[in-house]
Structures are given as C-alpha cells and as structure tokens.
Point group: C2
Chain length 174, copies 2
C-alpha cells in the first residue's frame, strides 16, 4: 500500500482495515505508523534487487552495474500497481518528513555498497560512478511511476550503461 500510494497517501484507517485490526492493536504491535513504515522499508531493502548477489567482488564493474540497471528496469515496472522503487520514491518527501529521512538513510546504505564495489577496481571513478548509477536508478523509478513499461525501461537502462563505461574509462572528465 505504501508502495502504491506513498507514506502520506496511506492513512491509519486504511492500514488497520487491511490488517483486520483496530488502531490500538496496531500501536501495541508496531509502535507508530513511522516505525511500521521503517520495518517495511528494511524488508524491501533486503529483498528487492539484493546488491550482494549482483555486485560480486571480482566481477567487472561495467558488467555488474549493467545487470543492476537492467534489473532495476524490469523490477520497477514489473508490478503496474507498485511502480518504481519503494525506497527511492519515499526519499522524495521534503526534508522534515520522517518517512523521507528513513528512506534516504536506506538509499545511502545502498549507495555505499555500490561505491565500495566500484572502488575495488576503479577507486578514482567510484564517486562519480556511484552518483551516476544512483541517478539513473532514480530516473528509472520515476519513469516507471509515470507508466513506462519494462521493455522501454530496459532500452533506457542499456543506453545508460554507456555512461557507466565512459566514467570508468575517464573518471576525471568533469
């Protein structure tokens, strides 16, 4: 539900009705709406597009990151009722929203994983490649949310890997 309508878009009434419990039981079980959302974020972060299965040490970064981007394209568009990335979309709220803060923390963790993986082989390009991959994934998530399907998104992801290659080859082309 959060994935489909956003954190603010899902009221407590909708949550409790979907869970088949009343508000007091919800607060006994989960503490608050924000804590409940944090659990869901963590669960999603762990299960969807698990980076440790893709960014295997020793693998050529260009290849691994290409798989990551194409995987994101397919994943983000796979369920039309839950388009895009839960974490990246939740990270969009204004800075003082608790849900956005938590989502940004989750996104930053994944950024670090990518950065460290790239730094193994291309330390000079790690920062720029990480910026680039994070930005492309946000773009894929946004496009998915606007209705672009998996096929078109995959074309976008493939084209975007050219940028990864360029940054890996010439990290200081800024």
């Amino acid at each position: 539900m959060f994935h489909a309508r956003g954190y603010e878009g899902v009221g407590l009434a909708a949550l409790t009705e979907a869970l088949g419990i009343k508000p007091p039981s919800f607060y006994k079980a989960f503490g608050s709406k924000a804590e409940f959302f944090a659990r869901i974020l963590e669960r999603y972060s762990r299960s969807v597009l698990a980076l440790e299965d893709i960014l295997l040490p020793g693998r050529p970064p260009a290849e691994a990151l290409a798989e990551l981007l194409e995987g994101a394209a397919v994943t983000y568009a796979s369920d039309p009722q839950q388009p895009g990335c839960l974490v990246l979309e939740a990270a969009r709220g204004c800075a003082d929203e608790e849900s956005a803060i938590m989502a940004r923390r989750a996104a930053a963790q994944r950024r670090n994983q990518i950065r460290e993986f790239v730094a193994l082989t291309h330390p000079d390009a790690a920062d720029s490649v990480t910026d680039y991959v994070a930005s492309v994934m946000s773009g894929l998530s946004a496009s998915a949310r606007e209705g672009t399907g998996a096929a078109r998104l995959t074309v976008v992801a493939r084209a975007a890997t050219e940028g990864v290659r360029a940054l890996l080859a010439a990290p200081k082309n800024a």
Copy 2:
C-alpha cells in the same frame, strides 16, 4: 513553496499567510488550491529550461540534448531550497491526486517537444531517445533533491550523454 515542500506539503494556511490574504480572498482570486497550482506549473514550464531555445531545428540532436541535460543538472541544483524540477517532482504523486495529473500533463508536453525535435533527424530513435532523456532528467531531479550539488550532477549529465549518442547511432538495440 510548492517547489520546496510539494503540493500536499503546503497548506492553505501557509499560502494565504504568505500572500497576505485570507482564505476567501484566495478562492475569489484563484478558484481553488489546485487551480492555483496549475498556474504555477504552467508558469514554471514556460520559464525554466525553455526547450524552444535549446532544441533548435537543424542543430545536431546529440549536441542539443547534451546542453539540455547539463542545463538541467545546473538548474535543478542551483537553488538548494528548491531542488529538482517542480514539474517532475509533482508528477510523482499517486495517480488519483489532481496535482500529479496536472504535472504529468505538463511533463508529457515537454516529452512531445523532445520527441518531435529528435524525429526531425532520427525518426527511428525518437521514441527511445525521448524515453531516455526524460528518465535521465527525472534522475537528475531526484538526485538534486537528495542533495547532490551542481558539480557532481553535471558529471552525471555528461556521462548520460553517452547514452544519447548510443541510442542515436543504434536505435534498435533493444
């Protein structure tokens, strides 16, 4: 204010206080909060990153689109209190929000401008290039919103132009 906090994040009380008027005057003048937002969207669409100044017919698409992307990088990060693109960020809401519908309409208009410009010289690549550019711009907007500055965003935009070149050269690489 909408740019900084989003449509839902700005209440009528904040708007009327900032304008120095009371709610009834606001409704006499603008009709509703949604109509007011529509005006702001249109104004922003016209003034920021005016496509007709960049996508000049006869100009090489790769060059023009590179300028567009780099311009977006700078623009989206120029004001830290209003990061990202107002239209693209507003287009993120769930489908039943009126503000998101209007923003998506504005975004679609700009998409068409890009598409027609590319089709002048590369009709086969127009669709995929448009998807790609739209996605990259959404990514830049998202990254700006997460705090990435103009310098790093420009590096991302330059790398992304490699993808444009690839799609222009081989439109059917899906």
